[in-house]
């Protein structure tokens, strides 16, 4: 994979300049990753405004903690963890353990992969954002960000069992919503 180059500067050079407080480098860094991180925030947020707040707060943390990045792993991964943690904090005020969607008894039907492939990314984000807060966070963390139930339980301060059950419920809701969308589309 080619190294990321922005205006003749590699990612490492941009990071070095950011550490020196170079505002242009900070701006380049923002435009380099803000698109992907905005997509992350959109998945965790209930609406666009909340996603923008998450992105803004997350990037402030990125700049203020940049000296802690040790160049060991991927910088994008580091930024992403900060953004995810910020997003979780934004929604943490809600209780993740006692949410009830009223859709507990939706059967877990299988979905044709072609149906999901036919849906655009923005449509998928939309149906995720319609999930209750706790379900949405757990589904995002487990299914897309790759966190284990143990990690989710620690992050959200809930029981592992609660994480598992809410994930199952989130899946059922998503299937129902995908089916609903597919039905309308066809």
């Amino acid at each position: 994979m080619s190294p990321l180059i922005v205006n003749g500067r590699t990612e490492k050079e941009i990071l070095k300049a950011c550490l020196k407080g170079d505002r242009q480098a900070q701006k380049d860094l923002f435009y380099l990753y803000s698109g992907k991180m905005m997509a992350v925030c959109r998945r965790f947020a209930r609406n666009q405004q909340e996603a923008e707040d998450m992105l803004q707060d997350g990037f402030i943390k990125v700049y203020t903690n940049l000296q802690d990045f040790n160049n060991q792993g991927s910088f994008e991964g580091w930024v992403r963890r900060i953004i995810v943690n910020t997003a979780i904090k934004h929604t943490k005020k809600k209780s993740f353990s006692n949410e009830n969607s009223g859709l507990d008894y939706i059967p877990e039907n299988s979905i044709d992969p072609d149906v999901l492939s036919a849906l655009s990314e923005s449509e998928l984000i939309k149906i995720i954002s319609e999930l209750p807060d706790g379900y949405r966070a757990i589904f995002n963390l487990f299914a897309i960000e790759g966190y284990s139930h143990k990690e989710i339980a620690e992050l959200l301060n809930i029981e592992e069992g609660s994480s598992r059950s809410q994930l199952a419920k989130a899946r059922r809701i998503l299937q129902a919503k995908v089916n609903e969308l597919y039905t309308i589309a066809v």
């Binding site: 994979m1 080619s2 190294p3 990321l4 180059i5 922005v6 205006n7 407080g21 505002r23 242009q24 900070q26 701006k27 380049d28 923002f30 435009y31 380099l32 803000s34 698109g35 992907k36 905005m38 997509a39 959109r42 998945r43 923008e52 992105l55 803004q56 990037f59 402030i60 700049y63 203020t64 299988s110 979905i111 992969p113 072609d114 999901l116 492939s117 849906l119 990314e121 923005s122 998928l124 984000i125 995720i128 589904f139 487990f142 299914a143 897309i144 790759g146 899946r171 998503l174 299937q175």
Partner: protein, 485 residues
Amino acid sequence: MNELDKIFKNKLNHYSTDVPDDIWSNIEAKLDKSERKIKPKAFRISSVLLLFITLTVGSYFLKETTESIRDVSKTEQKSPITNSENIPQPIASLANNLQIYTEATNNKSVNSILNGNSTRNLNVDIIKKDNSSNLMIAKNNSQNVQSDLYDDELILPEKLNSADNITRLHLNNDHIGTIDLSENSNDEIATFSTMQYEITHVDHISSGQISTTSLNSLSAKSNLTKNHNKTEPIKACPFNVEYKDKSIDIYFSSDYIDKQLTDRAGGAKLKEMRIATESPMYSFSAGLRLGYNIGYRWNIHTGINYSQINEKFKYTDPESSKVRIVIVKDYIYEHGQVVDSIVKQEEVLVPGSTELTIYNKFKTIDIPILARYTILANRHLSLSAVGGVFINIASYEKGTIISDATHKPVALTKAGSDEGNTVYKNQLGMSLYGSLSVAYHLTENTDLLLEPYAKIQPQSITIATYPLFQKYNTYGINLGLRYKF
């Protein structure tokens, strides 16, 4: 992870979406704010440290002084002996309120005794004189007070009758000393020296103890060899090794600037823009001042002070934009699985890319007129309170500022110029100055100064037609040297 999860992950894990333009502006504004906060935080920490040091030094002084007073106060329990008859004539006046009396025996002259001849018997007494020139306390001459004069020291009897009598004086040829009778307000610290003998310290005052460290300095001189009533006012800090009434200070300070902007008339928008575009940078001041001792513990200082306030002016033109090149990697999916990726170059339009960064300088030259009062001192250190005014005699500004007319960047100019924006007065008026000054006595003539200070501007420095009031309050720590002569 089930099939549904995988499909969502493959579709969304690397998905990128549009970002509203104003998010970067908000982040930039917050970053500016947080950068501004760093300096006050650092300043607060250093101020706390300095306060700690000052309090520690202050407590040290206080402890030493208190101990001396406590010892002396023991003597207050005794009734002073007043005897206005048969009082010997003083051989020297130490100060307005203190005289030393001697009586030579064996028909030796006072001079010969003090010059260290073989005479071993000497009646010496210390008499305090009140404001009406009446003797309040006198040594009872009826007692045969004996003193011994050795090669380089004069030893008086262990105990005299008067509560205020000093019972032991050590004299030698090389030192100058003080006698501390500080048990009440009339008891100033008397100091003296002689061509032949100089009092270096006092071991006892009656039954009390006085630490020698509090007595080993001098401010006024009188010559014991001359038998006259010449009085000389006590001046200066009593703890100086030798009395010198003039001094010159040179100092430097790293300054923290507290800029205050207030709306005078319809300047709210301008104030907001100026706060957003101007941020503080390293500022400093330096100066030279002459000091003169005008009385006991009091000094006046004047000289010249140069201050430079530095600021960064940073303006982003919201109407400008720039195309930036970003190399990105796209993933190709088939049935929810990544099957390929393509690296491609994209052009991104970045709004508000035209930035203007200017380093503004505000230079001022002031004449300080200061009074200094020595609060506490010993032979190593002294602590003084300094207060007064700084009178501005010249100011010079260079840089860029948001115009109050167009709200666009414009050069700072002086009044009378056709171009740019005139914001500041030519004469900035008067500032109030206050500080605590710690002086460490490096040598007899030289002190190292550490002086945390605050300089407050009571009135605005902007011209009458400018829509904002502006003041610069300066906080710093002067580090300098004082040479006494």
